[in-house]
């Protein structure tokens, strides 16, 4: 056997090529071949035998939907490129596979049913195809039988992924809306366009005071004040869907028990895709609390605006935030001029350190003051002020502001100084007067004694030489000098009661009274006066003066008895901070109009020939009680007579 030239096919190759060609011819003759291939490598050409078929092949290849044909067993005999793309696999992995293999396991029975149906006639359905990457593709499938000796089914699949996504997005949106609706902290309701409740949330039910079930289907006007309901519905009529009714209005809902609940309400018309109004969404916020709070704030603001106290609100860093009109007036600034200024500006330079220290304590949480300080006006003038610094805390307890409340006290201070001056002057002039009274009574006594002595001598020794008229005149002169002596003695006693140094000691009033009574014994016995003595306290006082006090009051009581056999009762009551001693007589009594006058010096109610005396006794009594820090007054004794009472403060020895 001759060898073949190099590069030529081997014998085996030639033999195989011949066999192939023979098989090909045979197959072509049997109609089992579609196309012939010619050429080598990249130059190979495929020549289809049935030209007419290529038109449909091109159509199917280029169409946008995924298309495939399969036999009655579901084996894919042909698929267009879009089909392979849909499954994200190369075409070689589609052809020859069955529909069941290309379908998600759960969907296989449905795929089989669809196929069986499509063999008999056109069928539609949805399937989930299995992608090469393991994902699923939802598809809408149309399938129909293709007539032929071997039954085939042609199937077109439309990708539903986008649609499904849109559906699930919508479902999610709706779910979100529902949850937002149900969970909203404000009242929400969906109304039909004619104003009936179609859906309400819990807060809405609470605001109307009715359970949800009761609200559904009822008109808005049954829970909202009628005019408000009609106003809302007429305003929304004709508003296209999706437009917010921009105004939030305050309306009043009527609770089931008839109580009104004020709310802030806004409404939105909900429309369909074409903008046609479908429903009304109401959003309702209970503002009952806010209204109360607002009213309270307004009242407080009014108080702050109109109070005469100057109020300045200061940040913890010392900047003035706001102040009320009184403050701008007081410090001489224009309305908003103070805002942002340093707080120190309101204080006189000399006082700034002290005020800064007080301010620091207020920031630390203490209420400081009132402290007296000197404030500075805008024009540089100063005034005395009383300032209180109070910390203002927020909800967490932190000090966020300091309120400075000040009052101009320069007027008060001037008045106090003036009062002090007048009172000092008065005290001085009183002292002068008392000194004068003492000196006068003391110094006048001397010459008076001389006059008295000589007039007395005249009466004693020369009475025989005088005629009746002269004797009478001398008698008048004697009586006059005696009277004058008594007046001077009284004046002296009075001025002594006011000026003598007090020697304080514990004084047993009971014993003092007994001593006084023994001195008065004869006149008491003579007049048959009955004396009752209650329990009397021990007081800290000047013993001599207390004795004189009892002496004068008891002498008066005996003297001004109405008839013989009168009663005098001495008693005492202990009060919280003082003892009150009462001397009640059943005597002639005192007209109410004279009850003040009797305590003045030389004031007498009665003619001298009726009751002796010079009108000094009660004035001295008052002088004594006042010097002891007490009081003396007179009341009517029940059943007639006068009751003198004096009080002495409780005190201990120094």
């Amino acid at each position: 056997m001759r060898g073949l030239p190099p590069g030529a096919p081997t014998y085996d190759e030639l033999a195989r090529g011949l066999a192939d060609a023979e098989a090909a011819l045979e197959a072509v003759a049997a109609g089992a071949v579609d196309a012939l291939a010619s050429g080598h490598g990249a130059d190979a050409q495929i020549t289809a035998l049935e030209r007419a078929d290529s038109f449909f092949v091109t159509l199917v290849t280029e169409m946008q939907e995924a298309a495939a044909s399969m036999n009655s067993g579901g084996t894919v005999l042909y698929a267009n490129p879009r089909f392979a793309e849909l499954l994200r696999v190369p075409m070689s992995r589609v052809l020859g596979r069955t529909l069941a293999e290309l379908t998600a396991e759960a969907g296989r029975p449905a795929a089989q049913r669809l196929l069986a149906e499509a063999v008999r006639g056109p069928a539609r359905g949805t399937l989930e195809l299995l992608r090469g990457d393991g994902g699923l593709v939802p598809v809408q499938v149309s399938a129909a039988p293709i007539a032929g000796d071997q039954p085939e089914v042609c199937l077109v699949a439309a990708d539903l992924t986008d649609l499904r996504q849109a559906e699930s997005t919508m479902r999610e949106a709706e779910e979100r809306f529902r949850s937002a609706f149900d969970q909203a902290p404000i009242g929400m309701a969906l109304l039909s366009l004619d104003g009936r409740f179609e859906r309400v949330n819990a807060v809405m039910a609470a605001i109307t005071g009715r359970p949800e079930a009761q609200l559904l289907g009822t008109p808005l006007a049954s829970v909202l004040e009628h005019s408000h309901a009609t106003a809302l519905l007429s305003r929304l009529a004709g508003v296209p869907g999706g437009e917010q009714d921009s105004t939030t209005v305050e309306v009043c809902y009527l609770n089931a028990d008839g109580r009104g609940v004020w709310v802030a309400q806004s409404a939105t018309v909900i429309g369909d895709a074409d903008g046609r109004a479908q429903q009304i969404l109401l959003q309702v916020q209970d503002i009952e609390g806010q209204r109360l709070h607002k009213q309270q704030l307004e009242r407080q603001a009014a108080i702050i605006a109109f109070t005469s106290e100057s109020i300045v609100s200061v940040t913890p860093r010392g900047e003035i935030e706001t102040c009320n009109p009184s403050a701008t007036r007081l410090y001489g600034y224009a309305n908003d001029e103070l805002a942002g200024e340093r707080f120190e500006r309101l204080t006189a330079p000399a006082q700034r350190e002290a005020v800064a220290e007080a301010f620091g304590r207020a920031v630390a949480g203490d209420q400081v003051g009132p402290l007296e300080t000197i404030r500075l006006r805008k024009d540089g003038s100063t005034f005395d002020a009383s300032v209180t610094l109070s910390p203002i805390r927020d909800a967490s307890g932190e000090v966020v502001r300091v309120a400075s409340v000040s009052q101009d006290i320069s007027e008060r201070k001037r008045t106090a100084a003036e009062l002090q001056r007048v009172s000092d002057e008065l005290a001085r002039s009183n002292a002068d007067l008392e000194q004068f009274a003492y000196v006068a009574s003391h110094d006048l006594s001397e010459p008076l004694r001389t006059v008295t002595g000589f007039v007395q001598l005249l009466a004693d020794r020369y009475a025989a030489n005088l005629d009746d008229d002269a004797r009478e005149f001398v008698a008048f002169a004697v009586s006059g000098t005696q009277r004058m002596q008594e007046l001077l003695d009284g004046l002296l006693a009075y001025s002594r009661a006011g000026t003598m140094e007090q020697r304080l000691a514990e004084v047993d009033c009971g014993r003092t009274l007994l001593r006084v009574l023994s001195g008065l014994e004869s006149s008491i016995t003579d007049s048959g006066t009955q004396i009752d003595i209650g329990e009397l306290p021990t007081v800290v006082a000047d013993p001599t003066q207390i004795e004189q006090l009892f002496q004068n009051l008891l002498a008066n009581a005996v003297k001004f008895r109405a008839v013989d056999g009168a009663r005098i009762r001495i008693s005492a009551e202990e009060e919280l901070d003082r003892h009150v001693v009462s001397i009640a007589d059943s005597g002639i009594g005192i007209d109410p109009e004279h009850r003040e006058r009797i305590f003045k010096m030389f004031q007498q109610l009665h003619a001298r020939d009726e009751y002796a005396g010079i009108g000094a006794g009660l004035a001295i009594c008052r002088q004594i009680t006042v010097r002891h820090g007490g009081q003396i007054w007179v009341e009517e004794t029940p059943g007639g007579g006068s009751t003198f009472r004096f009080s002495l403060p409780k005190r201990s020895l120094p």
């Binding site: 072509v28 071949v33 579609d34 196309a35 190979a44 289809a48 092949v57 044909s69 052809l95 020859g96």
Partner: protein, 101 residues
């Protein structure tokens, strides 16, 4: 190693490739017939690839393909090629060395 005994996942996994022109009648028949034979005789453990020569025309030259459809059994040896729509079942079984069921 016969095709029937080949391990579809093993190192010498069988390679069975059907070359077609997509959509043409004989090609469609060939796909259906091959699948039917495989299912019946080899069970679901076995797959083949279908290559559309309209998509990859160069493969026709590379594999010395004269007419479409052509089925080539590359592994296990011996290599076998069958031209036509594989409707002659007995011949296909014989060529693939599968014997009658």
């Amino acid at each position: 190693v016969s095709l029937r005994d080949a391990d579809p996942d093993g190192a010498l996994a069988p390679v069975l490739v059907l070359y077609i022109v997509g959509g043409s009648p004989a090609s469609r028949r060939a796909v259906g017939n091959l699948r039917g034979i495989c299912d019946e005789l080899l069970g679901s453990r076995f797959t083949f690839d279908v290559i559309d020569l309209r998509e990859f025309p160069a493969l026709a030259g590379e594999h010395n393909i004269l007419a479409v459809p052509t089925l080539i059994k590359e592994r296990p040896p011996p290599g076998v090629r069958l031209i036509g729509d594989l409707s002659d079942r007995a011949r296909v079984l014989h060529a693939l060395d599968l014997g009658a069921a």
